[in-house]
């Protein structure tokens, strides 16, 4: 099982969790699902397109997951991120982490998504009634990421 996938197709959250749960040494699975909302910055959003930097994205995510595996005792990690066109309710990203105990699974899962949101080269462009617009980076994301700096 590869740790990281970037794809245009929808992903199967259930299949990923089942795979991670299949090891009887696993006591805890923590999952983060990020999905497209129908409102952003007060405006209704009809569709969104996710652009990425092919090659760098995979490298950045592999490094993040490798660092998480070094910091915590993990039994499985999966990161799936969609690119291309999306509509509201579509899952955008899944980060799922399995471990013996919950503390490590929670910390690793949040660490990975915080880094992904602040460091992995993805960009969202939204379509609203007022036209297309690039989403601006949220201030909170670089703050969340700063927590992990040593």
């Amino acid at each position: 099982m590869h740790d990281i996938t970037i794809q245009t197709e929808a992903f199967d959250i259930e299949a990923v969790q089942r795979e991670l749960r299949a090891d009887p040494a696993v006591g805890a699975v923590v999952s983060f699902i990020g999905q497209m909302r129908d409102i952003n910055e007060g405006d209704r959003v009809s569709t969104m397109t996710l652009e990425h930097y092919p090659g760098m994205t995979e490298k950045a995510l592999e490094r993040i997951v490798e660092e998480a595996r070094q910091r915590w005792d993990l039994l499985g990690v999966r990161v799936i991120h969609r690119v291309g066109p999306l509509t509201p309710l579509d899952p955008i990203v899944l980060v799922a982490v399995a471990s013996g105990h919950r503390g490590e699974a929670f910390q690793a899962c949040e660490f990975i998504i915080d880094y992904l949101k602040s460091r992995a080269p993805f960009w969202k462009k939204e379509r609203t009634a007022g036209g297309d617009r690039w989403v601006d980076a949220r201030h909170g994301d670089s703050e969340a990421e700063a927590r992990w700096k040593r």
Partner: protein
């Protein structure tokens, strides 16, 4: 040759997904930014320092002091918004 890539808002502002640039005289990313900026128009706007621009060299985040060599891949893009 240095392969230069532009992503997202920058790609649209510059109306250019990427190009090859002769490395002669380019010691660092800062030198490359200077050469792009003097093109004027949208290039001046993007690289004047008023809007946040991130840079990666060979697919690793880098800063303007980063040295450049022939064959490097340099990407410019706005702050990321994935996840």
């Amino acid at each position: 040759m240095i392969e230069v890539l532009y992503f997202a808002r920058l790609r649209e502002q510059l109306d250019c997904p990427g190009e090859g640039i002769d490395p002669a005289g380019l010691q660092s990313v800062a030198d490359l930014i200077g050469r792009l900026r003097v093109r004027g128009g949208a290039w001046e706007e993007v690289f004047a320092g008023d809007q946040p621009v991130l840079v990666a060299v060979n697919q690793e985040m880098a800063d303007p002091a980063r040295a450049l060599r022939d064959g490097d891949e340099v990407a410019f893009f706005p702050p990321v918004t994935g996840g």
